[in-house]
């Protein structure tokens, strides 16, 4: 009995170290990248530049919340790009530069995002459509809707409050945007680790059939997960309106690839069931840092795409071989 308990304890400790190893090495990587950037260009290590990088990472980080929980269930969300664009567009259209419109506009945008996520969730969970194609189709739908509402020429602009949220600093010390990110991440980390809903997400990702047989309402949970992803994506788009001040139709395009990259860098398994949002935080910072480094190195667009693709491939292979996770998977 005693032996058993120590064994469990040991495995817990080793588990902790194993888990910690990924996150520690990711943060070491971040520090190394900062140092590398500092060597290349002097301004890279300045407090201001770090703030800018973290602020950009927080946009990516909030999108990646949704992407992480979707990938944890074994799915994928390709509609985040169009949803960000739509959030951005609608934010400017609804707010029209007035503070009084900001609150309801944000609420409405989050609800619209959640609705489209809910829609893809319905198709995925109840009609058993492949998440990849369903979210791609919903993405096309959302693109069409944003084009129709803007008629190709976005109108309106962000309000001072929204600008304050995404650009300014709280009491001139701490960027508000990063604070929003911290609050949201804390909420979702707690949700994933300490609520029954969060555990259900992991169980569904690990084995959906077993989860269903043990009484989890897998369809409902999956639908909710996709709704959350839609909501976070649209919310990010709205916050970006504060950053860009006016709407821009191609704003979300890059974030689809980046959000998946951030999740993959964080080591969340694409087959679902293992990973955490904490790792994705590191992943988002790394993605943004890498973009910044490539800009400092004056690498053209072609090179950036190649580097992004190569990094995904390298990291996927590292994680797969280190976990010896040799299943047949899609």
């Amino acid at each position: 009995m005693n032996k058993l308990s120590t064994n469990i304890n040991n495995s817990r400790i080793t588990n902790f170290i194993l888990r910690g190893r990924v996150i520690i090495s990711l943060f070491v990587l971040i520090i190394l990248m900062f140092i590398l950037g500092g060597i290349i260009s002097k301004g890279f290590l300045s407090f201001r530049h770090m703030g800018i990088i973290l602020r950009l990472a927080s946009f990516l980080g909030i999108v990646s919340i949704g992407q992480t929980i979707v990938i944890l269930t074994g799915g994928i969300d390709l509609s985040v790009g169009p949803l960000i664009t739509m959030g951005n567009l609608f934010a400017c259209m609804f707010i029209k530069g007035l503070d009084s419109n900001t609150l309801w506009a944000l609420v409405v945008i989050v609800l619209i995002g959640a609705f489209f996520g809910f829609f893809s969730g319905l198709g995925i969970a109840y009609l058993r459509i492949s998440p990849l194609v369903m979210t791609m189709a919903v993405g096309s739908l959302v693109t069409g809707i944003s084009l129709i509402f803007s008629q190709g020429a976005p109108k309106g602009f962000a309000s001072p409050i929204l600008k304050y949220l995404s650009v300014e600093k709280l009491l001139n010390i701490f960027p508000v945007m990063i604070l929003i990110w911290i609050v949201l991440s804390a909420f979702f980390i707690l949700l994933l680790n300490y609520s029954s809903f969060g555990r259900k997400i992991y169980y569904i990702g690990a084995n959906e059939k077993v989860a269903f047989l043990s009484g989890i309402k897998t369809r409902l949970v999956k639908t909710l997960v996709y709704s959350m992803s839609g909501a976070t994506a649209a919310f990010t788009g709205a916050l970006m309106a504060g950053y860009t001040e006016t709407a821009f139709l191609g704003i979300g395009n890059a974030y689809l690839m980046w959000s998946i990259t951030a999740v993959v860098i964080g080591g969340t398994s694409l087959t679902g069931g293992s990973g955490s949002y904490l790792n994705t935080i590191a992943g988002s910072i790394i993605v943004v840092l890498l973009e910044s480094l490539l800009t400092v190195l004056r690498i053209p667009e072609a090179g950036r795409r190649i580097v992004n693709g190569a990094i995904i491939l390298i990291l996927v292979s590292i994680y797969y071989y280190s976990q010896k996770n040799k299943k047949y998977n899609i």
């Binding site: 096309s140 739908l141 069409g144 084009l147 008629q151 087959t271 053209p300 995904i312 996927v316 899609i330």
Partner: protein
């Protein structure tokens, strides 16, 4: 004989929907039936058919190829950046280099996916980014020229028959035969149906999968080359819409996303359905903005039908209409 009947059951719905949409379009706009419009349609449907076939080969193995857009972009860029003076050597180079590059890109995808056992989704997303980077590296902005004599041959007519029609008929028949009549094609179905069992029964799964991705890359290259001839220039990002288009065409032509079911027999019908619906919107003068919505809705509808088995019911209804006696086939229908 049995197989022929089964094929008919699968593809009668696809082609009848395509034909009825065609007739519907002709009724609302009589201009639709003119020969010129049809020639135009043959040209526009060809890249869709190639891209759809490329995606079908991969989906049949149970995978998915998100790099097809970048393969199309890269090969179209290659097709215009090769020397275009009409010398025999240049034309031979033009004919062989882009398909070889497409084939090797597909093989790279296949190698990584089957040897590393990584999810096809993330691998092709990553390699797609890399291929697109290479395309942007070769040609950062749209432009370029194609050999006019090649353009004349490919998009011209022969004995009053438009060449694109001949091209897509011949190629879709060839790839139909490859899927249905060769060991390679049969193995693809076996792997898509159940990879473990296919492995147990002695099929070299990894080899077949690598070549399935290779064929997909080759077909993507044909699509890219055709597009560059058609628009007489190239754009490194022109393939982007073809990621979704190819998946939609593959699904509309009766291929199941879970793998192992379907084929390229219905590809012409699937591509026509997809193209005609957008063409009708154009003819009615509806803004292109709505086409995104329509594309998304078509995809969702097709997926709903194919995953909830309504198509199967249509098939069984048609089966009863056309083959009253063959009850035994019902069991082996699916």
């Amino acid at each position: 004989m049995k197989e022929k009947q089964r094929n008919l059951q699968l593809y009668i719905p696809v082609y009848s929907i395509a034909i009825s949409i065609y007739i519907f379009a002709g009724i609302i706009k009589p201009i639709f039936f003119t020969w010129n419009n049809n020639v135009n349609l043959f040209t526009r449907v060809t890249p869709l058919i190639f891209a759809g076939m490329a995606q079908t080969f991969v989906i049949l193995t149970g995978g998915i190829d998100l790099s097809i857009g970048s393969i199309i972009g890269l090969t179209s860029v290659l097709a215009v950046s090769l020397p275009f003076i009409d010398k025999p050597l240049n034309i031979v180079m033009w004919i062989f280099i882009p398909p070889l590059v497409g084939l090797s890109m597909g093989l790279i995808n296949g190698l990584i996916i089957s040897k590393g056992r990584f999810p096809p989704l993330i691998v092709t997303l990553a390699t797609g980014a890399i291929f697109q980077g290479i395309a942007l590296f070769i040609m950062p902005t749209p432009g370029g020229k194609v050999s006019l004599s090649i353009a004349r041959i490919v998009t011209g007519t022969m004995l009053k028959i438009p060449n694109p029609l001949i091209i897509f008929l011949v190629f879709s028949y060839i790839f139909h035969l490859i899927l249905r009549r060769t060991e390679f094609g049969r193995s693809i179905y076996a792997i898509g149906g159940n990879e473990a069992i296919a492995h147990e029964s002695g099929i070299l799964c990894s080899k077949i999968k690598i070549w399935a991705y290779g064929v997909s890359g080759l077909l993507g290259a044909f699509a890219g080359m055709f597009i560059s001839i058609w628009i007489v220039s190239a754009d490194p990002l022109i393939g982007e819409p073809y990621i979704m288009n190819s998946i939609a065409v593959a699904i509309l032509s009766g291929t199941a996303l879970s793998g192992g079911k379907g084929g390229v027999t219905g590809i012409i019908g699937g591509a026509y359905i997809y193209l005609l619906i957008n063409n009708i919107l154009n003819l009615l003068g509806i803004s292109t903005f709505y086409q995104f919505i329509v594309k998304g809705l078509i995809l969702i509808l097709a997926l709903t039908i194919s995953s909830s088995g309504i198509i199967f019911n249509i098939r069984s209804i048609l089966r009863r209409l056309f083959f009253l006696k063959t009850k035994s086939i019902e069991k082996m229908g699916e």
